[in-house]
Amino acid sequence: MALTLEQVRHVATLARLALTPEEEQRLSTQLSAVLDAVTQLQSLDVENVEPTSHATLTASLLREDVTRPSLPPEKSLANAPAKSGTSFAVPKIIE
């Protein structure tokens, strides 16, 4: 199954990747090859099979709903590329 350049660009937008034209070209070829290989799954009858999301887990384990100490703001912000007070700073959101 071939992935067209247009589809590659659409997926790149969904994935928030600003690909270069060379990357778009290369990914179109490489992803098409991988998608060809995975079409093999279409031949299996899975009509009455339940999907597995976690192999050994039957249900998510939840903790008691009690407050616990969390990271203090200065530690949370220590790696921030830009900050303002106790917040992460980003460029203008509304364009």
Binding site: L3, Q7, V8, V11, A12, L14, A15, R16, L17, A18, L19, T20, E23, L27, Q30, L31, A33, V34, L35, A37, V38, Q40, L41, Q42, L44, V46, V49, E50, P51, T52, S53, H54, A55, T56, L57, S60, L61, L62, R63, L71, K75, S76, A78, N79, A80, P81, A82, F88, V90, P91, K92, I93, E95
Partner: protein, 486 residues
């Protein structure tokens, strides 16, 4: 024999007897790293000060007669996927260059509490995506058995450091074979525990339903001792299993007499290198000689594991890696105009080609109109693969099989052909999809002197039996005593 050639347990014995100090052992590792790592390049970062401080504290505990654990004072290394408070952690990616975690992964905390000095952070394929360590954004690691070849991946730095005697043991992670394949490629022991056995809290996520941390060591007994520390229920990981921790060393020497070992015929398919197959077959005969019964078994959906994995893992990765957007930590494209461009430029510059490939593949498989055909279908086939294992474990105690169809390949040989690289994982992926434990134990060398590993697969939470089966073989062939030619 040099100090660094000791196994973890041999060193622990000398530490307990006061014949050697943890500071001496740690210094020996640091000197060894300085001498051989320029050729191996296993380390992304050496934490000399941190390791020595931990070693001094360990020596004080030993002197006071209050060791924190049997392995107190034994220095080890960490794949650079484990968060270490105050010590840079990059996942082998540019997007996390300079990132200093505010907390320790649970397993890192457990190692510190057990008194093991941490020597530093080991190289890996970027975000653990790869089978050769060549997708590391920094440099590839070299195989100590032949420096022109790959040590495997993604825990290639961990495996190479253990094989090159730079560390006594290491932690790796295994999503599709990333502990077992590099172990096989370097004549070391690697154990991927049952999904949920070891906490994933603070382990940088690749594919959350498959990722599992585990020990990488020179011997089976060392792997058992290290797993003893790591296998703890963790309330901070909602997928951590609330299962009691058995004594992993108790039954280690009990042998294989009377055990039924399944030989899955799908794991001996066309395309396996002759010498690899010969070595694995010889190991199977050895088990027979030792009193086990070999049973021909079938896992009929094995042929679908590769396709299933390369839909599920990239889908989960595309979601997990959405967090690297230049907002809270790591790289930020400072020249971006507006928030959208900040995201897309940061990610474009921060991620390498393999990571982009998997993000794209995963995003596609989850996108509107394709979800049912790709992702959901793969999850259903995953059920069939899991049921293969459930069925076969009604008849046999464990499975014995090859790890990789090939011996360590040349660096650069497969980098331009992603699909052929993915095929390297064909015998290790089903284990992760089924969530069962898998182990790699050295089983010989090719004529060119390249290591070959044997894979042992078992029922969920049956790690103790896998270790016992591996030990039975190791007792007959102590390949781990061989030193890599560096």
């Amino acid at each position: 024999m040099q100090l660094t050639d000791l196994t973890m347990l041999e060193l622990a014995e000398k530490l307990a007897a006061g014949q050697v100090s943890s500071v001496e052992a740690t210094r020996a590792c640091l000197e060894r790293i300085q001498r051989v790592d320029p050729k191996i390049r296993a380390f992304l970062r050496v934490d000399e000060a941190g390791a020595l401080a931990a070693a001094e504290a360990s020596d004080a505990r030993r002197k006071a007669g209050t060791p924190a654990s049997p392995l107190d004072g034994v220095p080890v290394g960490l794949k650079d996927l484990f968060l270490t408070e105050g010590l840079e952690t990059t996942a082998g990616s540019r997007v996390l260059e300079g990132f200093v975690p505010p907390l320790d992964a649970t397993v890192v905390r457990l190692l510190r509490e057990a008194g093991l000095p941490l020597l530093g952070k080991l190289n890996l394929d970027e975000f653990a995506m790869g089978s050769s360590n060549e997708s590391s954004a920094y440099f590839p690691t070299h195989n100590p058995w032949d420096v022109t070849r790959t040590p495997g991946g993604s825990s290639g730095g961990s495996a190479a450091a253990v094989a090159a005697r730079e560390v006594f043991g290491a932690l790796g992670t295994d999503t599709g074979g990333s502990i077992r394949q590099p172990a096989a490629f370097t004549n070391t022991v690697g154990l991927k525990p049952t999904y949920g056995r070891v906490s994933r809290y603070g382990v940088i996520a690749y594919a959350s339903s498959l990722d599992q941390p585990g020990p990488m060591t020179r011997t089976v007994a060392d792997a058992a001792a290290l797993l003893q520390i790591l296998a703890q229920h963790d309330p901070k990981d909602s997928t951590s299993a609330p299962v009691k921790t058995p004594d992993y060393s108790a039954a280690l020497e009990q042998g294989v007499r009377g055990l039924k070992l399944g030989v899955p015929r799908e794991y001996f398919a066309q395309g396996m290198e002759e010498e690899v197959e010969a070595s694995v077959r010889a190991a199977l005969r050895e088990y027979e000689r030792l009193g086990a019964t070999l049973v021909d078994v079938s896992l009929p959906h094995t042929q679908y594991a590769l396709a299933t994995y390369y839909l599920i893992a990239p889908a989960e990765a595309s979601s997990n890696l959405a967090r690297y957007d230049g907002v809270r930590y790591g790289l930020r494209a400072k020249d971006a105009r507006g928030l959208k461009e900040l995201y897309s430029l940061t990610r474009e510059r921060g991620f390498g080609p393999e990571v982009k490939r998997r993000i794209m593949l995963g995003t596609y498989a989850l996108s509107a109109g394709y979800y049912d055909a790709y992702y959901l279908r793969a999850q259903k086939v995953r059920t069939l693969i899991r049921e293969d294992f459930t069925r076969v474990f009604q008849d046999v105690d464990a499975l014995v099989a090859p790890i990789s169809p090939v011996a360590p390949f040349k660096l650069g040989e497969k980098v331009d052909d992603p699909l052929s690289m993915y095929l390297m994982d064909v015998y290790t992926l089903p284990c992760n999809l089924a969530g069962v434990p898998g182990l790699s134990v050295p089983c010989g060398f090719t004529k060119a002197g390249l290591p070959v590993g044997l894979q042992i697969l078992g029922r969920a939470f049956d790690e103790a039996l896998l270790l016992r089966i591996a030990r039975a073989f190791e007792r007959e062939h102590d390949f781990f005593r061989r030193l890599a030619p560096i």
